[in-house]
């Protein structure tokens, strides 16, 4: 089993694009956020419309004339506007935010066409119009869970897919100590940095990026273990005295990342 459900899409330019499908979790999360936003929007509209209607009727009652049909008109417009807000919310955002609604943006997912291109008004409208069937009749969940490409009815009709945004590596700035910087310049001469593979470097970088959120003891153990293993890999006899294992890892990160010092 793989963690992500990946699909490969043939594009008109006959290039295959790889995407990870959004999955039920991200889509449910996005829906949860969107329905809260939509609920808030509708609540504001309801309050506004009701107070507007009351004031309008008060005003009309002061005039002489038969306005008995007005409440029906007000109700009719109110119902239409509710529909327009519900549908419009999804259509507007999915078209102008390149397949994302606020919920989808927070969940880092996006609607695309089956050939990988961004969706247009027609697709967004079909998805939004079939949304009540998928969401309120609870059909969407079953379709997403059971179909190979996780399509709800709206996706099947509109020919769309919901995919995860390819998350670039978080460019969190790594704070590196001065000692590590000094050591990094010497490491290239002292050791066999070429023995490190990109995978090893990725692990060191991931540790340095994530160490601040780790618990103290496991972090210490992990740091020591990584440092010991790396020391063997790059054939260094002893870690220079006075350095912590974290500083040693920082130095390796710097030295490996900066090829000019390697050649």
């Amino acid at each position: 089993m793989r963690f992500f459900n990946r699909v490969s899409l043939p594009t008109p330019e006959s290039v295959n694009l790889e995407f990870a499908l959004a999955g039920i979790g991200n889509r449910a999360l996005a829906l949860l956020i969107d329905y809260h936003a939509l609920g808030l929007l509708l609540a504001v509209f309801w309050i506004g419309w009701i107070s507007f209607s009351i004031q309008l009727m008060n005003f009309l009652n002061q005039l002489n004339g038969d306005y008995s049909a007005t409440p029906n008109w007000l109700l009719g417009i109110f119902l239409l506007a509710n529909f327009a807000i519900f549908t419009g919310y999804f259509v507007y955002f999915e078209v102008f935010w390149q397949g994302q609604t606020p919920g989808k943006r927070l969940a880092k997912i996006r609607v695309i066409r089956e050939d990988g291109r961004p969706i247009r008004v027609s697709q967004a409208a079909l998805r939004a119009l079939l949304r009540p069937v998928d969401d309120f009749l609870f059909l969407g969940v079953f379709f997403i869970l059971l179909s190979q490409r996780e399509k709800r009815i709206g996706d099947m009709v509109a020919g769309t897919l919901v995919v995860q945004e390819s998350s670039a590596d978080p460019k969190t700035a790594l704070t590196v100590s001065d000692e590590a910087q000094q050591l990094a310049t010497q490491l290239a001469d002292m050791t066999q940095l070429d023995a490190l593979r990109p995978d090893d470097f990725a692990v060191v970088r991931a540790y340095l990026q994530r160490r601040s959120s780790m618990a103290i003891q496991p972090r210490r153990d992990l740091s020591m273990q990584l440092a010991r293993q790396l020391k063997t890999l790059i054939q260094l006899d002893t870690i220079p005295t006075g350095l912590t294992s974290d500083q040693f890892l920082e130095a390796i990160y710097l030295a490996y990342q900066n090829p000019s010092s390697r050649y």
Binding site: I24, G25, A28, L29, L32, F138, L145, D200, L233
Partner: protein
């Protein structure tokens, strides 16, 4: 579970949605074995119910031999304890299987069950401890609520207000609103505090299922420590999972209502047969739902636990095995 070769998949913590996805995908790719373990566990939980029915019928029909109860009741309680332990060992086996796949060390059902079954009394102990903890929390909350209510009553005029609440509320509606707000705040406090504790204890069975040195008390401590900085995130994960299972509950409700209608077509609604049949059917349907939904929560908890350990302890941040230097 084989992760994609892309190392960023391996070294990045999982997002809320992807934790839920992971649980669903684990369940889906192991549907049959997980359902089997879940069914066995649920049947264990059914045994005490099946045993008590003939006993009750016996006493209802004979109306005698009451002194035997002194023997039957403790024996039945022992049975309940044993069956609960078995149920927990089975559900923990699913969590262990799921975690094994997450760290690329899959196991057979037998091996996983052997491990958790050997610790079934620890699981029971953990369950008892958790119940005690929740009881303590509830007690504390009731005390706080009682104090707050007393203060509120005193501040709005005490017994005077109670004696003629209508008139007092009319004279000063602000007081009635104030009282309502205090009660709302108390209810909110109950919900928030219980949710918070539930999140802190939510992965309690995992360490006991996979960590060799875990005991009934240590495993609760581990859950407490791992969830420390992630309460809000885990809450959203559990909420989203619950939302996705709602349609299943909805489907069950539809089936139950339809069945009730079908039974009503054959037996009058007031008859005891109708009641017995409806109860029996609803109970069985509940069991079936439990069998289907339980593995999902176990896999979700396994992914939460895996992700927490990856965040807090760098689980999975391993260099390749150092090559032997020749």
């Amino acid at each position: 579970m084989t992760f994609d070769s892309n190392p960023s998949d391996l070294t990045q913590p999982l997002s809320v949605g992807n934790v839920v996805n992971g649980g669903f995908r684990l369940y889906r790719s192991n549907l049959k074995p997980y359902l089997k373990v879940s069914a066995i566990g649920t049947l264990w939980a059914l045994i005490p119910v099946l045993v008590i029915i003939p006993v009750v019928l016996f006493y209802v029909t004979t109306q005698r031999y009451y002194n035997l109860l002194g023997l039957i009741v403790p024996a039945w309680l022992l049975l309940v304890a044993y069956c609960s332990a078995q149920y927990m060992a089975n559900s923990a086996a699913i969590a262990r299987l799921a975690f094994g796949e997450l760290i690329n060390q899959p196991e057979t059902i037998k091996a996983a069950y052997r491990y958790t079954s050997a610790r079934k009394w620890s699981f029971l102990g953990m369950g008892a401890l958790l119940s005690l903890l929740y009881f303590g929390v509830a007690l504390g909350m009731y005390l706080i609520a009682a104090i707050l209510i007393v203060i509120m009553f005193a501040s709005i005029g005490g017994a005077e207000f109670l004696r003629s609440p209508a008139s007092a509320a009319v004279i000063n509606p602000g007081l009635a609103i104030f009282a309502g707000l205090v009660i709302l705040a108390i209810i909110l406090m109950f919900i928030v505090v219980f949710t918070w504790f539930s999140v802190r204890f939510c992965v309690a069975e995992l360490p006991l299922s996979v960590e060799r040195e875990a005991t009934a008390t240590k495993t609760i401590g581990r859950s407490w420590e791992l969830t420390q900085k992630s309460v809000w995130r885990i809450f959203i994960i559990l909420l989203v999972t619950f939302l996705v299972t709602l349609p299943i509950q909805f489907l069950v409700q539809v089936v139950a209502t339809m069945a009730q209608g079908a039974i009503a077509a054959f037996y009058p609604q007031e008859s005891s047969i109708f009641l017995a049949l409806t109860y029996a059917f609803t109970y069985l349907l509940g069991l079936a739902t439990g069998i289907i939904v339980m593995p999902l929560w176990q896999t979700i908890k396994a992914v939460i636990y895996y992700d927490l350990r990856s965040r807090r302890e760098g689980l999975g941040l391993q260099l390749r095995d150092p090559e032997p230097l020749t």
